[in-house]
């Protein structure tokens, strides 16, 4: 079912996602909350089930067939992840539980391990709590200054202020989102990295949203750290990724201690395994890594050019339809944006809007989106947010807009 709107064969793609044929309160599910967590294609579900049914044991230690095969599958996920984000080496891919854990790992191992009192971490006004709180904890425990780069009223990063902050403070590390989960704003990662490096700072990009919608190349970005999570990328929960330059990972002390991360252990001292295993203490999320590998194969087979073009058409269409609704305000007008549209409705709380949309079978997120400081910056306390995925259709957005017209009547 190709039409002029989308380069994707949406009918076929949607059939890959069993949950999309579910009904909610007797109505077809219109799932516009993929930025919180995406639905899973059958390929992911089957890869995890197949592993449990046919090929499963603990990894990296058994000398038996099942363990070796499972280790191979787990390490294959690392290869695919490295390819997905253009990492120069597979050893630079550390599996974590999610983006939050990846950021905490950096805050602990790089922040406490390699930054010095008086240095600063620079974040932005549009960060998710996951990219705020670990740095506050680092600040309070380790005497690090925490700086916040402003955004413009349109929801773009203020690059002039960014450069000024780097020039006027001893910034050791920049930690900024690659795509805002509230505003949809893509930041210019390569530009941020170039400016950071010119001032002697390292840069971490939070790619939780960005990696879902576009091809990411950490080498081209010239980033130092890149984090994302599997469950937003059509993979399972419980698996996230930290990429970092090998020389940084080599120099950083471990985050957590335990099995699988050691070279040798005695009661006097232990030595650490080489990277990336140094940062993967304990039995990792084996099945989830296998699921993530299937998700990566799935999106790569579709192609990020196609996914990106489809989602851009969806965003353009959503902005056009929602802009036409009297009393509805779209939050964020960044030049370069991805598949997330936040809005408020005059006279209505975001909670009201989401509750009424839910009754029509439409799932959106309402609230502060784990970005309370951004809400304060925007002078609001919540938004409703529709977010799109490769399986989202133009008809779903039309249904959202039509239903919002009905909802508006409640508050007119």
């Amino acid at each position: 079912m190709k039409d002029n709107f989308s380069p994707l064969d949406l009918l076929a793609l949607r059939a890959d996602f069993p949950i999309l044929s579910e009904t909610v309160r007797g109505k077809p599910l219109v799932f516009l909350d993929s930025a919180a967590s995406a639905q899973k294609p059958r390929a992911v579900i089957e890869a995890m089930r197949d592993a449990m049914e046919h090929q499963y044991a603990n990894i990296h230690r058994g000398l038996h067939w099942m363990s070796e095969r499972t280790t191979e599958a787990y390490e294959n996920a690392r290869d695919l992840t490295a390819i997905l984000i253009g990492a120069p080496s597979r050893d630079e891919i550390v599996f974590t539980r999610n983006s939050t854990e990846a950021i905490n790992l950096v805050a602990h191992s790089y922040g406490r391990g390699m930054m010095h009192r008086g240095q600063a971490v620079l974040i932005s006004e549009m960060e998710h709590h996951a990219n705020i709180v670990p740095w506050q904890m680092l600040r309070d425990a380790h005497g690090i200054e925490l700086l916040v780069c402003p955004i413009t009223d349109d929801g773009d990063l203020d690059y002039v202020a960014y450069e000024r902050l780097l020039a006027s403070h001893r910034v050791g590390l920049v930690a900024i989102t690659h795509m805002s989960n509230v505003l949809g704003t893509y930041t210019n990662g390569a530009r941020l990295a170039a400016i950071a490096h010119a001032h002697g700072a390292k840069i971490l990009l939070d790619g939780s949203q960005a990696v879902v919608h576009r091809a990411v190349d950490v080498a081209a970005l010239d980033a130092d750290f890149y984090v994302f999570t599997g469950h937003k990328l059509y993979g399972p929960t419980g698996i996230g990724v930290l990429w970092a330059r090998a020389e940084l990972l080599d120099a950083m002390p471990p985050f957590m201690g335990g099995g699988d991360m050691i070279g040798s252990v005695s009661f006097e001292r232990s030595t650490w395994a080489r990277i990336p295993h140094k940062f993967e203490a304990g039995t990792p999320a084996i099945l989830e890594a296998i699921g993530l590998a299937a998700a990566i194969r799935y999106v790569k087979a579709i192609g990020f050019d196609e996914i990106g073009a489809h989602e851009q058409a969806l965003v353009d269409h959503a902005l056009a339809r929602l802009s036409d609704i009297e009393g509805l305000t779209i939050i964020g007008r960044a030049q370069d944006r991805g598949g997330v549209v936040s809005f408020t409705m005059r006279g209505a709380h975001a909670h009201d809007v989401a509750t009424l949309l839910d009754r029509a079978g439409i799932a959106v997120r309402a609230g502060h989106h784990c970005a309370e400081p951004l809400m304060r910056r925007l002078g609001i306390d919540s938004t409703a947010r529709a977010s799109f995925a490769l399986y989202t259709t133009k008809e779903e957005i039309d249904f959202l807009a039509d239903t919002l017209l009905r909802v508006r009547e409640f508050f007119a």
Binding site: H349, H351, A354, T355, L356, R359, F410
Partner: protein, 155 residues
Amino acid sequence: MSLAELSASFVRPAEPSAAAAIGAIGEELELFDDWMERYQQIIDWGRRLPDYPAEWADAAHRIEGCQSKVWMAATAAEGALYFAGASDAAIVSGLVALMLRVYSGREPAEILATDPVFLKDLGLIEALSTNRGNGIAAMARAIQAAARAAAGGNG
């Protein structure tokens, strides 16, 4: 406190018992064919809540909820507990109104005997235990806690 002294912000019961209030709410919601219309009714109930004093819209009266704010005040008068409440969201205000219609002006024993599961039975919320979303489940717990404290104080 006597009823005459009770602030107008506290809800006076319209029905003789909590059970009768739940029955009346169910019947009134039944009148509507679709959920959009039911929500219109719920929002109207919220709009007809007594005025909630601005000075009680503070942290001490705040019920923890994730997406919308809910405030509640409680007082005892003539052996019964009276509640006042408000929310910054329209539908939640309606749910607050409905909670107060059931629980306000009842004796502690009756409050404790009235399981908030009626919210779920009426299809108004999905889950009592886990719903961080609208704060109503938390409000139900706060009302029950106030009744337990009052009952304990009397006994």
